[in-house]
Subunit: 150 residues, 2 copies
Amino acid sequence: MAVNKKSKKIILEAFLPYQITVLADLVARRTAAASKTHGGLNLSQWRVLAAVATDPGRTANDVVAVTPMDKGIVSRAVKGLLDMRFLVRNASQQDGRIGHLYMTRKGEQVYEAIASEVQKVEEELLSALAKSDQKKAGAIFAKMISTLME
Amino acid sequence: MAVNKKSKKIILEAFLPYQITVLADLVARRTAAASKTHGGLNLSQWRVLAAVATDPGRTANDVVAVTPMDKGIVSRAVKGLLDMRFLVRNASQQDGRIGHLYMTRKGEQVYEAIASEVQKVEEELLSALAKSDQKKAGAIFAKMISTLME
DNA sequence: CATAACTAGTTTCAACAGCTACTAGTTGTC
DNA sequence: GACAACTAGTAGCTGTTGAAACTAGTTATG
């Protein structure tokens, strides 16, 4: 048999970037389904809602900064959430371009419902790991993210 | 201060499903860029090409089975790759519906170029992990994937 | 205080994704 | 061997994404 060329062939199914893609797709499907059934939200609307829940008062721009979404998508998602009265926007007095976003009571209820579903997904993910790895998982992902971002 | 309600609030940035989403998005951007510059492929075309490279002779349906893509997308991606002469399709004699896919010489060259770029992404990802974790990473992802699929 | 450079957010448009319905080919059953 | 049930792959439709251009408000500079 011939000697390997320097280019190692990718075995797709065992290839990390591919596995991440497949995993993210599964997570997105679950999350999208939960968002839709518990509030009629699409995925980007859910992400915006969750970003505002994490840190109320965030602006659309803040959401863009912590999220892999472009500002056009966030803008549309915010508009949808405002129309459905899940968020309110408090325009800043100091800077007329900026609007701080807060959940309404209704928004909070929808958020709770979706969040508890999505937390189940996290639990399932963690259940796939050894106890010792469960604690490290968050830090490992954070590390991989920052490696690719730099 | 009030006692915590039973619903734990999600801290988005430390939430596993979210981290996976962000990571996958970074990987997809890098991969899409490499695919585009080294052959004018979009992401789904690259995935199809990689699936065929992993196991030549795969049919469009085989690709659907190992990939988080729907058959319409795969069908269009295959069509594009055939038009660009990166793949050929050998219709089966036994079953007229089936076409086995193979890379052309040109397809292989494009594949090599993109694959070596994407392998760099994998190396970066692995470099974020401790030596002991590097070996386990593939298995851990596989486990998480199968947990969500069942 | 006028103007240039910058930032927050919106809109637009082409490309792409994800359904569903459809066509063509195959297998099983009576 | 005809007809129903099934599978591989395609086509059409609608909504969403992502990039870029644009608007409106703000800051810096002379």
